[in-house]
C-alpha cells in the first residue's frame, strides 16, 4: 500500500493510532505470551477418550456405570489384582492379544514414567515425566511407574477392549517412593487412549497423558504440554488498561487497512 492510495486523513490517523496503541500496550503489558492466551493446539480432537462424550465408547452398554459402586468392586469378579503396601496392579495382560490382532503381538516395548511434584508445569501441582507414548498396533507394552513423591500416584489407562480388561481399564498404583510395573497389550485400531491418575484433582492439576496406538485418533484435551483445556481458565489478573488499548489499537488498525484497501480497489 503506497501513500498515494490512502485517500484521506482519517485512514492515516487510524493506521498510526492503531500501531501506536498496540506498541504502547505491548510494552506496558505483563506478558503477551501467557499460556492462557494461546489458542488450542488441537483442532481435530477425536471425542473418543475424552471425558464428556468420549467415554461413551468405553462406557458400558451392558454394565450400567452410573450405578456401579466401585468401593464394593461390583463386577470385581474377573479383575486381576495385586494389592500390597507398595501399591496395586490391576487388569494386567501379557499373553492375550485382542481379537482384532490377527498376527498376534507386533512388538514388545517398555516405557518408564516418573510421577511427582517435580514434573509439574507452572499452574499445576503434579506431573508425569512424559505425557505421550506412541506404540504400534497390537504391541505388548510394559509400563513402569516411578513415584517420586511421598504420596501415592496412579497410571490408569482407559479405552481398552472390555472383554479382556474389566471396565476397559488397566491400572497401576505406586505408593509414595515406590516403583510398580505392569504389562498390557493394545488392540489394532488407530486410537488415542486416556492415561491419568484418578485421585481427587490429580488429573486436573497435571497428571494427564495419552497413549497413541498407531496413528492415534487426535489429541485429548488438556494434556500438559500437548493440548489446551476445553474450559478456558479465567485470567489471573483483572482486565488491564493495556488489554483495552490493544483491542482499540487493533480495531483502528483494521479500519485503517480496510479503508486503504477499499480506496485502492475503487480506483
Amino acid at each position: 500500500m503506497t501513500i498515494r492510495t490512502i485517500r484521506s486523513a482519517p485512514e492515516v490517523f487510524c493506521l498510526a493510532a492503531g500501531l501506536a496503541l498496540i506498541g504502547l500496550a505491548a510494552t506496558v503489558s505483563p506478558g503477551l505470551t501467557q499460556e492462557a492466551q494461546t489458542g488450542a493446539a488441537e483442532s481435530k480432537t477425536d471425542m473418543r477418550g475424552s471425558h464428556d462424550g468420549g467415554e461413551a465408547n468405553a462406557a458400558a452398554k451392558d454394565v450400567d456405570h452410573s450405578k456401579m459402586d466401585h468401593s464394593q468392586h461390583a463386577g470385581h469378579e474377573g479383575h486381576k489384582m495385586v494389592l500390597d503396601d507398595n501399591g496395586m496392579v490391576m487388569n494386567w495382560n501379557d499373553d492375550t492379544p485382542p481379537r482384532d490382532c490377527k498376527n498376534g503381538i507386533s512388538e514388545d516395548v517398555e516405557f518408564t514414567v516418573h510421577a511427582g511434584r517435580k514434573y509439574a508445569k507452572p499452574g499445576q501441582s503434579f506431573g508425569f515425566s512424559t505425557n505421550e507414548w506412541n506404540v504400534k498396533p497390537c504391541a505388548r507394552v510394559k509400563i513402569t511407574l516411578v513415584n517420586e513423591d511421598k504420596i501415592r500416584h496412579q497410571w490408569m489407562m482407559h479405552g481398552l477392549p472390555r472383554y479382556i480388561y474389566p471396565q476397559a481399564m488397566f491400572h497401576l498404583e505406586a505408593a509414595g517412593g515406590q516403583t510398580r510395573s505392569g504389562t498390557f497389550i493394545v488392540p489394532s485400531g488407530d486410537e488415542t487412549l486416556l492415561v491419568h491418575c484418578d485421585m481427587a484433582q490429580h488429573m486436573e492439576k497435571g497428571l494427564k497423558a495419552q497413549l497413541k496406538i498407531g496413528a492415534g485418533s487426535g489429541d485429548l484435551p488438556s494434556v500438559p504440554g500437548i493440548s489446551a483445556a476445553r474450559v478456558q481458565d479465567p485470567q489471573a489478573q483483572r482486565t488491564g488498561g493495556w488489554q483495552i488499548a490493544l483491542l482499540l489499537g487493533g480495531l483502528l488498525l483494521g479500519v485503517g487497512i480496510g479503508g486503504g484497501l477499499l480506496g485502492r480497489k475503487s480506483k
Binding site: 475424552s50 471425558h51 464428556d52 467415554e55 468405553a58 462406557a59 456405570h65 452410573s66 456401579m68 459402586d69 466401585h70 468401593s71 464394593q72 468392586h73 470385581h76 494389592l83 500390597d84 503396601d85 496395586m88 490391576m90 511427582g116 511434584r117 499452574g123 499445576q124 501441582s125 503434579f126 513423591d149 511421598k150 504420596i151 501415592r152 490408569m156 482407559h158 491400572h171 498404583e173 505408593a175 509414595g176 484418578d198 485421585m199 481427587a200 484433582q201 490429580h202 486436573e204 492439576k205 484435551p221 488438556s222 483445556a229 476445553r230 474450559v231 481458565d233 479465567p234 489471573a236
Partner: protein, 577 residues
Amino acid sequence: MFGNTRIISGLVMVVSAVAALYVAWLLNPSYLPPAVSDFLYSNLGERPFAPAPPTMDMAKLQPEEVCPERRPQWREAQTIDGVEMQASPLCHPDNPYEVAAFVKGTNNVSPGTLMQTQLTPDAVVKGRDLDGDGDPDEIHIRLEVAELNGHSPDAPVEVPGYAIAPGVRPGFWVFVPKYRGMATENLITFKAQPGLRMPSVPIRVEQGDEVKITLENTHYLPHTIHLHGVDHPYQDANGEGNDGVPRVSEMPVMPGDARTYDIKPRQTGTMFYHCHVQPQAHILMGLNSLFIVEENRPNNFVQTLNVGAGHVRHSSVGVRERYGREYDMHYQDVDYDMHNIIQSSNDPRVISERIHRSFNITQRKPEAFVLNGHSFPYTIRDSMIVVKENERIKMRVLNGGAVSLALHTHGHKVTATHLDGIARPPAQQIIRDVVHFGPAQRADLELEAKNDGLHSYGPGIWVMHDHHEQGTTTNGINMGGHISAIVYEQFLGESGIPKVVGGLGPLFTPEYFRGEVPIFAGMDPQGLLNTPGQRQTNSTGTLLTVLLAVLLGLFFGALTWLIRSPGSGVTAARKKR
C-alpha cells in the same frame, strides 16, 4: 393549507392526549395524579373487573429417589472377621466390611473383607498389645486430603462430585482414609466414590495407645494436622514439630509430601482435630473432625475411623456399658463465596491467592449448613438418630463451623454429660432442650428414650434442628440446613426412610433449593398457593399497553408536525438561508 396543517396537528394532539389519559386510567390509575383519576372515577364509575393471573400448574419436577438403594443387606446386624456390629436401619448404613477393617486394622482383616472396601492395606495398621489387655495399642492411621467439587479443565462439572443437597455442590477439602483405585465412581457422572465425602473422618483411639497419624498430602495446597484438646507433646521424640501450627512448631506439609504425628493421649474425651494452615480457610473448607479418646479397657477394639460420622456401628467397651447406641454428630456451615473459589480456576496459585488473600472472612455469610456432610433432606439418609423406647443414646456433638449452633431436640431434653471432652460431675450436668455450641466446642449429650415427659415425650419422628433459623435453610430455603430427626424405630419405613405425613418428593429436586417450587404447592386441590401466572398474560392488558404507547407516540408525533409545519416559522426561516 398552512392553517389546516396546524389545526389538524393541534386536534390530533388534544384527542390523543385525552385518549391516552383514559387508557392509562384503565390500565393503572396510579399512573395519573390523584385529582385526574378521581375525576375520571366520579364521571365514569368503577373500572371493569380484571381477574388476577391464574394459578399455574406446578412445573413437572423430577425428584430424585428418596433412598437410592446401595446394599440393603448392609443394614443388618452382622459379624465380619469376628467383629460384631450393630444393625443400622438407615437408608445408607456404613459399609460393615469397612467398619470391620477399621476395628481390626486393614493389616489384620481378611483379603476378602479388604476387597469389599476401597482401603489400602496400610490405611489403619494395628500392631502390638503393649499393655496385655487383649487389644492392640499401636495404631498407625494414614490420612489423605481430598478435594470435592473442584474445577475441571475439560467440562463444566465439579470433580469429584459430591452433593450436600439436591443440586447443591459447594467445594470442600476433607481428610479421608487412605483409599486405593478411582476417586470417582465412573468417568461419566464424575461422582465421588462413597468414601470421599464430607465430613472429614472422625478418629477414635484408646487412652494410652501409641498412635501415629501420617498425613499424606495428596492435595495441591499445604496442610498440617493439629490435635485440638488431644494430649500430645509439642515435639515428637525426634524433636520434630507435633502441634501442626505452621511457622511455629513446623513448616506445613507441602503437596506430595508426608508427615507423621506421634501421640500417646493420657486423657479421654471427645476432642477435635483440624488443619492449622490458614485455618480461617482450611478449617471452614472442611478440614476438621472429631478425635475421640476412649477409656482404656480390656479387649477394647475401637472403631478407629467412622466414615461419614453418624452411627458408630462398633462402639467401645466403655460406651457399650451405658449406652445402646452412639452417634457422632458434626455440624458445619458453608459460605459459597469461599467454597466456590476452587471452582473458579484450575491454577493452584490463583486458588491460593483468592482463598487466602482476596476472600475476606470478616464478610463471610453462610448459605448452607451441614450435619455429617449433608443438608436436609439428604440428612435423612444417613444422619438421623434412630432410637427405641427406653434406650439410652450417646451423642458426641462437634461444631466444626464458624457460626454458633443452638441445637434443639424435639420431644426430648438431653443431658450434657461432658463439655469439650471433660466429664461434668452428675450434679453439674445440665438437662435442657437447646444446647449452644460455639465454634470448636463439643458436648457429649445423653438422650434417654424414657417416656416421662421430661427425657422423652414418647415415640415419634422428633425433628432436631438449629434454632438459629438460618441453620434450617439452604440458600435461604426451608426445609434445609442441618435439620435431622430423632426417629423411633417403629416410625422407620421401607429403606430406612421415616414415615412422615405428606411426601418429601419436591424437596429432592434442585429446583426446590433454587426457590422455584412454591412451598405449599399441591397441598390443596385448587392449588391456591401455587405460583401465580405472569402479570400480563391477559390480552386486554397487553392491548391497552400497546394502545397507550401508540397514543403517546401520536401525541408527540403531532407535536413535531406542528412545530415543523409550513407557516410555523421554522421551515420558512430555513429556506431563507
